[in-house]
Subunit: 129 residues, 4 copies
């Protein structure tokens, strides 16, 4: 998934405001579902809740940059999923994070539905080709 | 209502990103209610919908500025309300807008409840003192 | 230019936060230049400053919507340009605004460079085809 | 430092969008300096760069909540500083993170100026009283 850096993403330091890298990752996760016309929270009154983020900021990004976000499954547990998401500008890595997502149905953690896992796996395969 | 300009509010041009002035005005409208422990959408499954904004950008604002937002009632109609909101840094006006709000209850425009009008009038009086 | 509605664009009312329509329009203006590798503020230490916005909010947008932003030149003056920008979801118009941009070089309003006008005109033609 | 949750901070899930907790923490760090009329990047052409964030999301926050951000020094190294920042709603912790900041002067990591360390220490003392 490509992300363009617009004025709104930058700050007075002339670079992308740090938390916006984390927003770009969320866009990439959502796009995986939206581009398939899947809306988790409509089907099961459910959704993914972010429990933990471990993020490294390797390099800065500037106005007009065209970035790419890669998402892979790092670990699969019962009610949670650890994804690895990385942001590149061409061949340079700018940002990487491990994110722990918990799957919630009607307020309670539930086992991740298999169709959601499959969707992440498909995306992973495509980006490795 | 005072608003501090943080990094997230600025852009690579070194100034407050233009639409953020409009966000500051929305914060000021909400604060009027939140500071009184009023939550319009909980009481009546209702809320204010923005219908129209006419905005003038007079001067720029920079990182660290302490701004002040003033809100006055410009015109009161049956199901809508026109507010005038202005943003100052000390005695300099930076931004001004007329905003048309429509009051919605369960999806339909309704007459503005009198207690909401009163709340706006009280705020106006206080800021004129 | 297409814009996907992500979580960050919505608010607790379940719809796109009103000022985000205005941000989507700015993305569309910037994309016109970035997609041609043009960076106004680098070439001439210059940029566009927003002077005035007259906006109408016709309908709401929700999570996952795929929107399209159209930009046309409404009026060309000496140091300013009035654009008309509209946001559609398929054939439904959600938002429209007239925006007055002033062109600034080293802090002072200057005549709009012809190559910038041409870029807007090219975009307009393409979107009308 | 108190932070009110406005519409712009929430998303269609009805809760504060996850990365906004991280933005609230940045506001708190900046406020420490701005409230003393200190502007790091003006004095030394310098600034703090975020290198690493380890964040835990303990509980959600909703529209209108009044939150409080606490900032303490966790570890002081030569050119970097590890802060602990936590967000509470009354006595409930919602969010906590360790953040590694690097101090940059004219593009290069430098020793953290002592007056900046002192400012963080003063804030810490005040919040413990």
């Amino acid at each position: 998934m490509k992300v363009r850096v617009y004025y709104e993403d930058t700050d007075a330091g002339g670079i992308v405001y740090h938390t916006n890298f984390i927003k770009f990752c969320e866009r990439a996760r959502s796009e995986i579902f939206f581009s398939r016309n899947m809306m988790p929270h409509e089907k099961y009154k459910s959704g993914f809740v972010v429990r933990k983020i471990d993020a490294d900021f390797f390099a800065v990004s500037r106005l007009g940059d065209l970035l790419e976000v890669f998402t892979t499954i790092k670990e699969r547990r019962n009610t949670s999923l650890i994804l690895r998401q990385e942001i590149y500008r061409e061949n340079t890595i700018l940002f990487g994070m491990d994110i722990v997502l918990v799957y919630i149905e009607e307020g309670k953690p539930k086992r991740f539905p298999n169709d959601y896992i499959k969707v992440f796996e498909e995306t992973q395969k495509k980006s490795q080709e």
